[in-house]
Amino acid sequence: MDLAFTPEEQQFREEIRAWVRENLPQDIAHKVHNSLHLTREDMQRWAKILGKKGWLGYGWPQQFGGPGWNAVQKHLFEEETALAGAPRIVPFGPVMVAPVIMAFGSPEQHKRFLPGIASGEVWWSQGYSEPGAGSDLASVKTRAERRGDKYIVNGQKTWTTLGQYGDWIFCLVRTDTSGKPQTGISFLLIDMKSPGIEVRPIIMLDGGHEVNEVFFDNVEVPAENLVGEENKGWTYAKHLLSHERTNIADVNRAKRELERVKRIAKAEGVWEDMRFRDEIAKLEVDVVALEMLVLRVLSAEKSGKNSLDIAGLLKIRGSEIQQRYTELMMLAGGAFSLPFIQEAMEAGWQGDFPGGAVALAPLAATYFNMRKTTIYGGSNEVQRNIVAQTVLG
């Protein structure tokens, strides 16, 4: 048992750090460090830089062109990019659909889809949630009827994050209604330029356009876009969900944002207020404890000796901490967090912010936005059900 990284791991970290220092565009990092608005172009630019280096699919095995890193190496990569202010990788392609295609897709699908994902050229969206379904994913209602070599898709998906930018979307669709809800679901890859698809924005409480509704009206999908077997999509979906949760704690971003909380507290003069600083101190302990929890999981994954069944805890704690640091930043801003001036959340805005406190402009909106983290990806209530199951049976 040893807390120190091995010399090899240290060297690996140094290499990542040096590369990030040279390759992460500083205008993008500036936006990330200050919660300013990231454009599609920003995200795409960074994705392509990573793609060129072969690191966009940093979790991929070597046989599919990934670096083949182990759990600790992946963590170090995530840590170095997060601390440097890199945007989070948009996960729908490289983190979500790619592993499903690798595990269950045909060799043709590998050849056709993986390169575009690895390079960052093709933007994928997720078509899981449906209206009224929420955490109950198995109640998929969007139908796909087989007609010859095509599926005809009708229905609606919702909460499709960044779907307005999507080139392709992977969907759970219902191909059979006869059995239990979990059976009769298929996993379909759909070109978002297909006729009959309409993407409508959902405006969030912070005024941002981040998620969408996606409508399917007699959309024709070539049967070759079915992943694996018909009616086995639920199995693939669960595979995906287990991948989705690995970095769910997002502890490296938390470390970066904890630093930022301190910077803002100092600028706002509340660092010297013992009451406020105590709140930061509690957050610091929370972050360190979460990091230790994550490291324990990584170590177990690396050695394969003891598996730790605590994904639910990571999701719960990680999301609570995300909410807490955005809350503390807003509270540090005090009344000056209250102006809602959307332009001030764009980089380079030159207007007058009340009191000159332009650094506070995005804080309340970020706080509002982060309320989603305890809801999505399996609400924290669902996670507690899962955790309780591990303790009580």
Partner: protein, 370 residues
């Protein structure tokens, strides 16, 4: 000791509630937010109901009512998330009536009561945070005429108001002034998180009238009137938030049953109900202590605002959580109640500030009457 409302108070509540339900729809409010967060027509309707003159004596054209009536009204306005800052009018009329020279009262109170003049408190400065006893705004006198220079932030409806109550340093001591919109006043407006309007107001040798030489007691009183009004407004917001949440939980199904059937969520609602009733209790307390001697009044407001802040955050955050995805969309009314609760928490002192006030004002004995 009696917490029943009088028939007059119940009638007042009904009148305001009727106006909110019939005239102040969510669609109208949404349009007002888009248009900048303040609508003079709406404010005129409030004045027509007599509300702008609630604290104005009857012989000045007002209703001559007290804190309990103000509480009743603010609860109902909170329930409708009314954007127009009636709390500011309560502050202005209350403070002018208690501290201003008679001629100033005669000049302004009737206009406030009729709704012709909107007067708001302009006290927030960048470096002061929640402290009331410091100001970088300077007042100078020359031949009996005062001029003010300085900047006040987050002034409610600051570019729409007709005049401001402004604390400023006069010969090294905080005094309170009335400044009219016009020459020497530059107000730059914007919308705030809850959709209402505020402004950065710069005073550049603006002509001013002295309200109170000894400004701190008047300013503290102003803020306390604001706290009591805000507490009542918050009770309305919380009540509506609870009703929305309960409705949603009984409608929304997951895994084939209404989510209101899940015990963990039911217990959460029980905890929210606790905060709701504690909030209402402490709002009563704030209003009933508003006319107490200054020290007792300040202690009571700190206790009340602390409790309300705790309740607002707890109910707001959990309401969003219990709603799930819909709760974080702009389209759904509930998210606006949440933002309103958040903004109120950051108005007139945040939770830690008031905890500090409670802490420093503690005495050996404590209770409602101590």
């Amino acid at each position: 000791m009696d917490f029943d409302f009088s028939d007059d108070q119940e009638q007042l509540r009904d009148a305001v509630r009727r106006w909110v339900d019939r005239s102040y729809t969510f669609e109208r409010r949404r349009a007002a937010v888009k248009a900048g967060g303040f609508d003079r027509t709406t404010y005129g309707e409030l004045a027509e109901l007599g509300l702008a003159g609630l604290y104005v004596p009857e012989d000045q054209g007002g209703m001559g009512m007290g804190p309990v009536e103000a509480m009743v009204v603010m609860e109902e306005l909170g329930r409708g998330m009314v954007l127009e800052p009636l709390g500011q009018t309560l502050i202005a009329s209350g403070v002018l009536g208690a501290y201003a020279p008679q001629d100033l009262q005669d000049a302004w109170l009737p206009r406030i009561a009729s709704g012709d003049a909107l007067v708001v408190l302009a006290h927030q400065e960048r470096r002061a945070r929640w402290r009331l006893d410091v100001s970088e705004t300077q007042a100078t006198e020359s031949g009996g005429a005062w001029q003010l220079s300085g900047t006040k932030s987050l002034v409610p409806a600051g570019d729409e108001a007709d005049a401001f109550l402004v604390p400023a340093m006069a010969q090294g001591r905080l005094a309170l002034f009335l400044v009219e919109q016009g020459g020497g006043v530059h107000a730059s407006g914007y919308v705030t998180q809850d959709g209402s309007r505020a402004a950065e107001v710069k005073f550049d040798k603006a002509p001013a009238t002295l309200v109170a030489q000894d400004g701190l007691p008047a300013l503290e009183h102003a803020v306390d009137i604001g706290i009591a009004a805000l507490c009542a407004e918050a009770v309305g917001v919380i009540d509506k938030t609870m009703a929305l949440t309960a409705d949603y939980m009984n409608t929304r199904k997951q895994f084939g049953v209404p989510i209101a059937s899940f015990q963990a969520l039911r217990h959460r609602m029980a905890d929210m109900k606790m905060q709701q009733e504690l909030a209402r209790s402490m709002s009563y307390y704030a209003s009933l202590k508003l006319n107490a001697p200054a020290e007792e009044r300040r202690r009571a407001m700190a206790r009340a605002k602390y409790q309300l802040n705790v309740a607002m955050r707890f109910v707001g955050q959990n309401s969003v959580q219990l709603h799930g995805g819909i709760g974080v969309t702009d389209e759904y009314i509930g998210s606006h109640y949440f933002k309103k609760l958040t903004q109120m928490e950051l108005t007139f002192g945040d939770t830690l500030h008031h905890l500090g006030e409670v802490s420093s004002r503690m005495q050996d004995t404590a209770g409602v009457f101590a």
